[in-house]
């Protein structure tokens, strides 16, 4: 029987979606049948022409997918709240059951307890007011005694503690003072000896410096005094010289006056004698 490919085979062959053996069969058929090949080539040409269609460029919009708005009932906040309250209540009930919780309400009385009801035993002997008062007094006395003994114990303990602390502290302080005093004696000795050495050195320096100064001062004084004496003597000599010159001048003047007087006398005498 001669092989003839179906339309499906031909179109699969055109798009290369046939198995190898089938492809060879179709190829062989097309080679043997020019009409079929011609039709096939026309379809291939159509394909080539179709490739000329351009792709359109489009940019995907920035899509922000919203959260699932259909919130499931059991995911709603209100349901969760109710569920949590119910769960808490359930938990309480379970614990109450496990611990055998009993809640009794009768008259003005509310009882909450665990285990069996023991109200009968409690209500067997009702106490009177005086008994209650006595119980309270006894309890107070007992409490007071306990408090007093406890206070005294505490006080003793405190005293002991304070005393021991004081002893320890005083010992420590004594030790510290002792250390301090010994330390201070040696330090003072060192300090005084240092001071003495320093003062001695200072005094030596001072005296040395002072002696030198005095020496130079006296030398200067002596020189100045000798200069002064010399000056004074010169001045005295000049003064004497002046006085002597003055005396000499006076003497000369006196001598001239005397001479004049004598000459006048002589003249007078000679004139009188002439007159006479």
């Amino acid at each position: 029987m001669k092989y003839k490919p179906t339309e499906s085979d031909l179109i699969s062959y055109l798009y290369g979606e046939l198995s190898q053996s089938e492809m060879e069969k179709v190829e062989k058929y097309l080679l043997e049948n020019p009409d079929a090949k011609n039709a096939f080539m026309k379809q291939a040409d159509v394909r080539k022409i179709l490739q000329e269609v351009e792709e359109k460029e489009v940019i995907a919009p920035p899509i922000l997918l919203e959260r699932n708005s259909q919130v499931v009932f059991w995911k709603t906040t209100s349901f969760k709240t109710v569920l949590s309250i119910a769960a808490s209540f359930m938990l309480l009930v379970v614990f109450a059951r496990l611990m055998d919780l009993r809640i009794l309400s009768s008259g003005n009385e509310l009882r909450i307890g665990f285990g069996d009801n023991q109200t009968e035993s409690v209500l067997v002997s009702p106490v009177t007011k005086t008994e209650v008062q006595q119980l309270i007094d006894a309890s107070l006395v007992k409490n007071n005694g306990q408090l007093t003994s406890q206070w005294s114990n505490d006080r003793d303990a405190l005293n002991k503690s304070i005393q021991s602390n004081l002893d320890q502290n005083s010992k420590k302080i004594d030790g510290l003072i002792l250390n301090t005093s010994t330390a201070s004696q040696t330090e003072i000795q060192k300090f005084v000896s240092g001071m003495q050495d320093q003062n001695l050195k200072l005094m030596k320096d001072y005296l040395q410096l002072s002696a030198e100064d005095q020496k130079s001062y006296i030398e200067t004084l002596l020189v100045d005094f000798s200069k002064y004496l010399q000056e004074q003597r010169n001045q005295d000599l000049m003064y004497l010289q002046t006085r002597l010159n003055s005396i000499e001048n006076n003497t000369d003047l006196f001598k001239q006056e005397t001479e004049q007087i004598l000459s006048s006398i002589i003249t007078n005498v000679s004139s009188s004698e002439r007159v006479n």
């Binding site: 339309e7 499906s8 031909l10 179109i11 699969s12 055109l14 798009y15 979606e17 026309k42 379809q43 040409d45 159509v46 394909r47 080539k48 022409i49 179709l50 490739q51 000329e52 269609v53 351009e54 792709e55 359109k56 460029e57 489009v58 940019i59 995907a60 899509i63 922000l64 997918l65 959260r67 699932n68």
Partner: protein
């Protein structure tokens, strides 16, 4: 198909799809980024109308987001997504036909002059001198429109979206043989349309 990084990412996105199916919104966003162009181009070729293509694309991804958990097999995501897109395309096509009942309803008749394609008819008289690459692309898409919707969706899925016949069959919920048959007759129909418009491999090659 596997030409760009985007295509490679699309082919190796099983993990992403699995996370998206579990409700991971980041993964779903990434899937939208990956597949947006493909679905848009499919819709655009189906309608040759930007607005309708955008409408179908957006509705497709909204539906994907809502019904992601219904995806049974991650490996069938591609056909599943195209199923949604095809359904919306068909829905829009029905609306379109309903809106154009009066004179415009005659658009799909092959022998009569169509209102919307008057320009193309003029071009057809002398395509060698008028067709630029973009115009050629437009013209070819107009030719695609002349196919029946069933043939058109198969041709677009196979020729431009690179789906296997099995995947197309899954997407359209028909047998693989039906898909191949539609493809076979779709190509033959296109051949006749091209002949009518004087579009041949030679004159297209010359123009290019």
């Amino acid at each position: 198909m596997a030409g760009t990084l985007l295509d490679i990412a699309m082919m190796h996105s099983d993990g992403l799809i699995a996370r998206a199916r579990e409700g991971n919104s980041v993964a779903q966003n990434k899937i939208i980024q990956l597949w947006y162009k493909r679905i848009y181009n499919f819709s655009y070729k189906f309608f040759f109308d930007h607005d309708l293509a955008m409408e179908v694309t957006q509705r497709t991804f909204i539906s994907m987001h809502k019904n992601f958990q219904q995806l049974q097999d991650v490996g069938r995501f591609k056909s599943w997504l195209y199923t949604i897109a095809v359904n919306y395309c068909r829905e829009e096509l029905r609306k379109k036909r309903k809106d154009r009942l009066s004179p415009l309803s005659e658009l799909t008749t092959g022998t009569e002059e169509s209102h919307g394609w008057e320009k193309s008819e003029r071009r057809e008289e002398n395509p060698e001198h008028q067709m630029q690459q973009a115009e050629l692309s437009d013209l070819l898409q107009q030719c695609l429109l002349e196919l029946s919707p069933e043939q058109r969706e198969v041709v677009i899925m196979k020729e431009y979206e690179g789906l296997k016949f099995r995947e197309i069959a899954e997407a359209l919920n028909v047998s693989e043989n039906t898909v191949k048959s539609r493809m076979y007759y779709g190509l033959n129909g296109l051949k006749k349309i091209f002949d009518k418009r004087n579009i041949t491999k030679e004159n297209i090659g010359y123009e290019i």
